[in-house]
């Protein structure tokens, strides 16, 4: 489509008859369950409010009868003024694409009990555990309702609005103590323990503190059919949190029978750094650099997702050049991330370091470009609401920017992919270890809310860039990469496919960048104190390298801070598939299976 002039008004005009799949399903749902669902009538809100006790029933109808078979996000929200806790569910139609059906279940703050959706959507598992951890929802029928990000025995539910942490200063930033009479202090100076700790008032340590480990092991199933032959004892071992192949501080508790995995439970939260709680204290602007630190390998993509969400809330438009720059950055990030992921996957498969080092050399060049344009190699903080922070730089490492990009996109990156193919793809050892291992069927992938390459390698061609296009993706020509076996090898190949598609997109973006040189990259004057023009909610999602990254943001009218800030983290939810995929394989395969999911702990634990 290279030289079509873009006209945003040239969309298909919406007639009254044509309904999006979501609108259709919403109407149908109201018909089918007239007494249970009702429209969310609050200003700025949309979706359906569902009678909490019937949420599972409604979800089942949506899944079985209306085709909304993908539960993307489960979000807890605290409306302290109304005395209510709310769970927001975003469901999508995998085959038809389009927007979400949003279900909301409201429960009393003091007795937050509602049915679990795990029997209908197994992918709700970790998200419900997270909601329980953060808000104290009691999901009835959840098979393993334990804390997930904090530890068992933690005091309170930290995302409730009346919960205060040890270093609490004020409800919202900026803090008054910084200016005009700012006298510097370190927060620990004001804490009796000199540390970031707070105990329940009057709590006395007894010495036999709650054993945080017991429940972890209780969750494991030891049952297995009696296999003929030599009887062996089952052993429970821990992989992590300090383990070279867990890609960070991730822990797997594995029950093994000999070398074979009987059961596996991921334990996470070792990098839980309270992204959402801090996000609700920050102003809208302040959250942007924090999103860098979610999936720290692909900070540009995180920026984009958040920018899109807040632009929805603020009704901002983005100038053309900024959109092209955004796509440029995001697709480079995708390549960057996949190079990293493949390097580590091959590392886990036994190709120790050589492919990794070759890939990282090219990644360094992309990082050089990021550093020159955004100022930092990894923490780019580049997108702003209504544009990007800067135009492209003049030069990168002494080469004019466009030349640098051309060399990268036309020569270097294709060459490294080719070289990677020759180096590893045909390698017999990789094939032997990867083909047929860790198979995820398409049905399971959808049911467990897998996203991104993991979903597409199982034969489900679902890509947010196509299903619900954002930015200028609808004008770009690319294929949704898909593979059909759903094993490690396919997940390896699909990342190479995706990088090739990204290069294809980038080749289309370059002429537009040249054409729009000198055009503004920012719609309006950047403001340091943004206030929400309306009350309400916004949910934005983008196709991150790891999968679908969603942000759920609510705001009060004229509020400078998000009231609720939730991240639908793809790595976190993709981990639901780890246990089922690993069962029956050898312990050495688990590492490779985990590598093929490609997690980043900053996003898993937030």
């Amino acid at each position: 489509m290279s030289d079509t002039t873009l006209d945003q008004t040239a969309e298909i005009p919406e007639t009254g008859v044509v309904q999006t799949p979501a609108q259709e399903a919403t109407a149908k749902l109201k018909e089918l369950h007239p007494n249970i669902v009702s429209d969310d009538t609050r200003e700025g809100y949309e979706g359906l409010i569902v009678y909490a006790d019937s949420i599972a029933e409604v979800a089942r109808t949506l899944r079985d009868d209306l085709g909304f078979n993908y539960l993307s996000s489960v979000t807890g929200v605290d409306y302290i003024e109304e005395g209510k806790l709310e769970v927001v569910y975003h469901l999508y139609n995998i085959s038809r694409g389009g927007g979400p059906v949003v279900l909301k279940a409201q429960v009393d703050r003091d007795a937050p009990v509602l049915p679990s959706l795990v029997p209908v959507f197994p992918g709700a598992d970790y998200q419900e555990r997270e909601a329980y951890d953060m808000y104290g929802f009691h999901f009835q029928g959840h098979p393993d309702l334990r804390r997930i990000l904090t530890w068992d025995g933690f005091n309170g539910h930290p995302l409730r609005k009346d919960w205060k942490e040890a270093f609490y200063e004020e409800d919202y930033k900026p803090f008054g103590s910084r200016w005009p009479d700012g006298s510097v202090f370190r927060a620990e100076e004001r804490n009796p323990y000199g540390k970031n700790v707070k105990y329940p008032p009057g709590w006395v340590p007894t010495g036999d503190e709650y054993d945080v480990e017991t429940d972890v092991y209780l969750g494991l199933s030891y049952s297995r059919d009696a296999t003929p032959g030599l009887k062996t004892d089952k052993v429970t071992v821990n992989l992590g949190p300090q383990h070279p192949s867990t890609h960070g501080v991730f822990r797997m508790v594995v029950t093994i029978d000999g070398e074979t995995i009987v059961d596996l439970k991921p334990v996470m939260g070792y990098l839980h750094r309270n992204h959402e709680q801090i996000g609700e204290r920050n102003t809208f602007n302040m959250n942007m650099p924090y999103t860098d630190r979610l999936d720290y390998l692909s900070s540009m993509s995180n920026n984009l997702g958040y920018a899109i969400t807040v632009e929805k809330l603020f009704d901002l438009s983005v100038p053309e050049r900024a959109e092209w720059i955004r796509i440029l950055m995001v697709e480079l990030t995708r390549i960057c991330n996949h190079l990293w992921a493949l390097g580590f996957l091959l590392n886990d498969l036994g190709a120790l370091q050589t492919p990794m080092l070759y890939y990282y050399l090219e990644r360094e060049l992309i990082l050089d470009f990021f550093e020159a344009s955004a100022g930092s190699r990894m923490m780019c903080n580049f997108m702003r609401f209504g544009g990007v922070a800067y135009d492209l730089p003049d030069e990168v490492r002494g080469t004019p920017t466009m030349k640098f990009l051309e060399e990268l996109i036309y020569n270097r990156l294709p060459r490294v992919l080719e070289q990677g193919d020759v180096l590893m793809t045909g390698n017999e050892i990789v094939k032997a270890r990867a083909i047929g291992v860790g198979i995820l069927s398409p049905e399971d992938a959808i049911a467990m809310s897998a996203a991104g390459p993991l979903l597409r390698a199982s034969g489900v061609p679902y890509d947010v860039r196509r299903a619900e296009p954002y930015s200028y993706y609808e004008y770009l020509d690319f294929d949704v990469a898909v593979r059909y076996n759903g094993d490690i090898y396919d997940r390896y190949l699909i990342r190479i496919d995706e990088m090739r598609q990204s290069l294809r997109i980038l080749e289309q973006v370059l002429p537009h960048l040249k054409r729009t040189t000198g055009a503004p990259v920012f719609g309006e004057k950047p403001q340091y104190a943004l206030r929400a023009p309306r009350a309400g909610e916004a949910y934005g999602r983008v196709e991150n390298p790891k999968g679908e990254l969603g942000y759920y943001v609510t705001a009060k009218r004229r509020g400078g801070n998000p009231e609720r800030y939730h991240v639908r983290a793809p790595s976190f939810i993709n981990l639901t598939t780890l246990g089922p995929m690993s069962r029956g394989h050898k312990i050495a395969d688990v590492v490779a299976i985990l590598g093929s999911i490609d997690i980043v702990l900053g996003e898993v634990d937030r």
């Binding site: 270093f167 009796p192 707070k198 009057g202 300090q242 839980h272 750094r273 204290r281 923490m379 900053g602």
Partner: protein, 231 residues
């Protein structure tokens, strides 16, 4: 060449003028120190231990462009028992800190800790969070701090060079790891996860605070009720 005893360490033994050019007074430690430190500083093996964002930059530092092998540090050991250096690369959370302290205790002496990035040094941007430790130096002795969020690979190498300089200043004679009277010296108590992180060295303060609260509660008993338990 005369080798003085270790006790007469400092070389202020008077030497007659007529033999001054032929006598070189030193001690074993002084002779050995350069060799000892040279070999130690050029073979610092870090633990393979990545916590967060900074770990990515740490891996970049170890990979081909910045190449830690030039300093003899490329051997990232997966087990603490073979490592000399622990690079705390990223946010230390309360859930993770018991593990970190345990790992540190398992490292053989001499052991060094490098705190990489703002988070590890002082909590960083996440300091206000309820699950974040405001600086690993609250639990472990830190040798070198590298500021930045995240420090670039070159900044990390700068920190490692600073560590090498620190190692150069140590002496075999005064090194605490050779004249240990107590086996547990240099070990740090592993914190416990209770309702919040409990540093076992602070149990007394916690009890005092609790007692203070109880006293206040008793005093305020006539009034409605004690301050609500958070959460």
């Amino acid at each position: 060449m005369t080798v003085a005893s270790t006790e007469a360490a400092n070389g202020d033994i008077p030497v007659p003028d007529e033999v001054a050019n032929n006598v070189f007074i030193t001690n074993i430690a002084k002779l050995l120190d350069p060799v000892y430190n040279w070999s130690r500083r050029n073979s610092i093996w870090p633990v393979t231990f990545g916590l967060a964002c900074c770990a990515i930059e740490m891996i970049c530092t170890a990979s081909s462009r910045y190449d830690l092998a030039r300093f003899g540090m490329e051997v990232f050991r997966a087990t603490p028992r073979q490592a000399d250096l622990m690079i705390i690369s990223g946010t230390v959370t309360k859930k993770m800190v018991p593990t970190i302290v345990r790992l540190y205790n398992q490292m053989p002496e001499p052991r060094y800790v490098l705190s990489m990035g703002a988070c590890a040094s002082g909590g960083g941007p996440f300091k206000e969070g309820y699950n974040v430790v405001d600086g690993i130096d609250k639990f472990l002795p830190v040798d070198v701090y590298v500021p930045g969020c995240p420090p670039t690979p070159q900044a990390l190498i700068n920190g490692l060079i600073a560590l090498q300089e620190k190692i150069d200043q140590q002496s075999i004679a005064t090194a605490p790891w050779y004249n240990k009277k107590d086996e547990t010296a240099g070990l740090y108590p592993v914190p416990v996860l209770g309702p919040d992180l409990v540093d076992l060295r602070q149990l007394d303060i916690i009890r005092q605070e609790a007692a203070k609260y109880q006293a206040e509660a008793v005093a305020a008993d006539t009034e409605a009720e004690p301050a609500a338990v958070a959460g």
